[in-house]
């Protein structure tokens, strides 16, 4: 067997290995997405789909006051959730990476994944139990005599969404940040100290820039899916807590206007991608500045 033939077989082995996930993605992601894209240019004519090309759905999605308001609210909540999650995740990741003895690190990582042992829905319901009118917090506060009436601002508002989503996503933020921190050569931190920096300056000049890839990953991992979440707002968001994803669901189901739903979904996708891009661009600039 000559060399080029071996190379050829190796190349094909690579193709064979990637093809199942490739076709899977094509079948279950690319095709449906193209379907949604096509749908967004059509119109719903009572029970029939009118397949004539139109941009009306997009016009409505971008100019309708309700859609604009929901989109902005979704963005606001996603940004808040992302900020809160990353800010809370960083110290945890830092602690595990820098202060937990190496032998105990796997145990800590394992502990962080424990919330995933219960279903997402159950976790949301637990937040309802905690934040609710007769819930854990109100019950405790009344019990110790701090308040007479249950607090009503805990549940069924946007704050409850932020708390619930942050809690749900925090392990996803801890892991990439932890990995980035683990990868930092400890002698770099000693070098920084050796060259005259105290702990705070060292963190700003060395640890943080080197942890950036993890922080970026965490930010995107949290930001992108939260904007599409519709279960959490429905269960803990209350009347003022509905988001764009809820509207998309309504359009596809109750309102029987799948084309508008498709246009809303793609618009949301566009907005999220743009924001992610802008974020990446800013970050690259920040890292360049450090050079």
């Amino acid at each position: 067997m000559n060399f080029s033939l071996i190379q050829k077989i190796r190349g094909q082995a690579g193709l064979i290995l990637v093809s199942p996930p490739f076709f899977y993605a094509l079948l279950l992601l690319a095709f449906p997405l193209m379907g949604v894209l096509a749908l967004s240019f059509w119109t719903q004519d009572y029970l029939e789909l009118n397949r004539g090309f139109t941009l009306d759905n997009y016009r409505e999605a971008w100019t309708g006051a309700i859609y604009q308001a929901l989109m902005l609210r979704s963005l606001k909540i996603s940004i808040l959730v992302t900020l809160l999650t990353v800010v809370l995740a960083f110290p945890v990741a830092y602690f595990i990476s820098f202060h937990v003895p190496p032998k105990k690190k796997p145990l800590w990582i394992f502990l962080i994944t424990i919330p995933f042992w219960t279903s997402y829905l159950i976790r949301i319901f637990l937040w309802k139990v905690i934040l609710g009118f007769n819930g854990v917090i109100n019950g405790s506060l009344i019990g110790i005599g701090l308040i007479d009436e249950p607090l009503k601002f805990l549940l069924f508002n946007q704050g409850a969404i932020v708390v619930t989503l942050s809690h749900a996503w925090i392990p996803f933020a801890i892991l990439p940040i932890y990995v980035a921190l683990e990868k930092i050569d400890r002698s770099l931190l000693e070098a920084s100290e050796d060259l005259g920096d105290g702990p705070v300056r060292r963190f700003i000049r060395v640890t943080l820039p080197l942890a950036m890839p993890g922080i970026i990953a965490a930010t995107l991992i949290v930001f992108i899916p939260t904007i599409g979440d519709y279960v959490t707002p429905k269960l803990v968001g209350g009347p003022n807590g509905l988001l764009i994803a809820n509207m998309i669901e309504v359009q596809f189901k109750k309102a029987n206007n799948a084309p508008l739903g498709a246009a809303l979904a793609l618009s949301a996708m566009f907005v999220v991608s743009t924001m992610a891009m802008v974020f990446l661009w800013f970050n690259r600039k920040y890292l360049k500045q450090g050079q």
């Binding site: 002698s187 920084s192 080197l210 050079q291």
Partner: protein
């Protein structure tokens, strides 16, 4: 020993009874010595002997359990690494990957909040010093090992430390580059006049670069001496074994006449040694040590003969300029290593040849 008692040299570092334990492991067992201003001192020893720990104690990265480190007359107790007048070149170089070469070198000056103008001038000077002019804007990830090493040096020297600490800085380089960097480091040290403390496990590196070498074993300094002294007069078997090659032969004391020792050396016979050749005296476990180059294979009958032993060649290793022979000494099962310059060998010596081995009683050391 001469340099140690030199009263003119002023100690820049005083180390007194430094002890460092990790749990039950004693990494440093009460180490005391002085390092002189402008000296190139090497801490030499096998891995795990505590040499890096000692360096890190001086740098302030490790806090000793007991003892005193004094730098330039100031007690360093409680002073963190970032406030000590020392800088370090790390084994991995620790060049910041997210910064350019220029920003790396400027790091310490920025930490000191120097002004832009000064920083830029000093960075250029420092880069020129290590032969890397014009590399300011290179990303540090695009550097070779040797270049990284130079950046790490420039980054440390730009701060004009009183002492530069080097933790096995050359171990990651290939042989040729390592040799080049050895002589460059030595020249650099002479020109800047800063005290260098180098940690290495490479005895050749230690011998070629240092003013003095502290040989460490098991958390203690076994010998602190100039390279010459260390090679010629190691104080014990362990040091002799670690620094260069040494042949060890069994030794019996026949008589002690005044200061002289009359001894019977395995394979070499009876001879008289001066007390000078037994720095720590004769003990029952003493051995006779002789360097390979102190043996000669007699190839020229007219050659002046010192003492003669007989042996049979068991192995030869040819190195171009030198040849190493392993010879079995007659009447023993002891194999000794003999090194000869090839220009001194007038006929072929092959495995199995019976040869006469010349040696000189002066070159024998009695070691424990």
């Amino acid at each position: 020993m001469k340099q140690e008692t030199n009263s003119e040299a002023k100690p820049i570092i005083r180390i007194e009874s430094i002890q460092k334990n990790y749990g039950v492991i004693e990494a440093l067992k009460s180490i005391s010595f002085n390092i002189n201003q402008g000296e190139f001192l090497t801490l030499l020893g096998p891995s795990g002997c505590g040499k890096t720990t000692l360096l890190r104690v001086i740098a302030g990265f490790e806090i000793p359990n007991a003892g005193l480190v004094e730098i330039d007359g100031n007690n360093m107790e409680g002073i963190p690494a970032n406030q000590r007048p020392t800088n370090m070149v790390f084994q991995s170089y620790a060049v910041f990957p997210h910064m350019t070469v220029g920003k790396n070198v400027a790091y310490g000056l920025r930490a000191r909040k120097a002004d832009r103008q000064t920083i830029s001038e000093e960075v250029n000077k420092a880069l020129a010093m290590v032969g890397m002019e014009g590399f300011n804007d290179r990303p540090s990830t695009a550097l070779s090992g040797g270049q990284r090493q130079r950046v790490a040096l420039a980054r440390a020297l730009i701060l004009k430390p009183k002492v530069l600490l080097l933790d096995e800085p050359l171990s990651a380089l290939d042989k040729r580059l390592r040799e080049q960097m050895q002589s460059e480091l030595r020249q650099l040290q002479r020109s800047v006049g800063i005290t260098f403390i180098l940690v290495t496990h490479d005895q050749e590196e230690a011998l070629t670069m240092s003013d003095r070498i502290a040989v460490m074993f098991d958390g203690k300094i076994a010998q602190l001496a100039s390279p010459k002294e260390l090679y010629r007069r190691p104080t014990n078997i362990q040091v002799a074994n670690f620094v260069g090659t040494m042949n060890f032969l069994n030794l019996d004391l026949l008589a002690q006449e005044g200061g002289d020792l009359v001894v019977e050396i395995e394979g070499l016979g009876k001879t008289t040694l001066t007390i000078d050749q037994a720095p720590l005296g004769y003990q029952s476990n003493s051995m006779a040590g002789i360097r390979p180059e102190m043996f000669t294979i007699i190839t020229n009958q007219g050659q002046a003969k010192p003492m003669i032993a007989k042996g049979r060649i068991a192995e030869t290793q040819y190195f171009g300029d030198m040849t190493y022979f392993d010879a079995n000494l007659e009447g023993t099962d002891r194999v000794v290593t003999i090194s000869m310059r090839n220009s001194d060998i007038s006929f072929d010596i092959n495995i199995g040849d019976d040869v006469e081995i010349g040696w000189n009683p002066n070159s024998i050391l009695v070691l424990n």
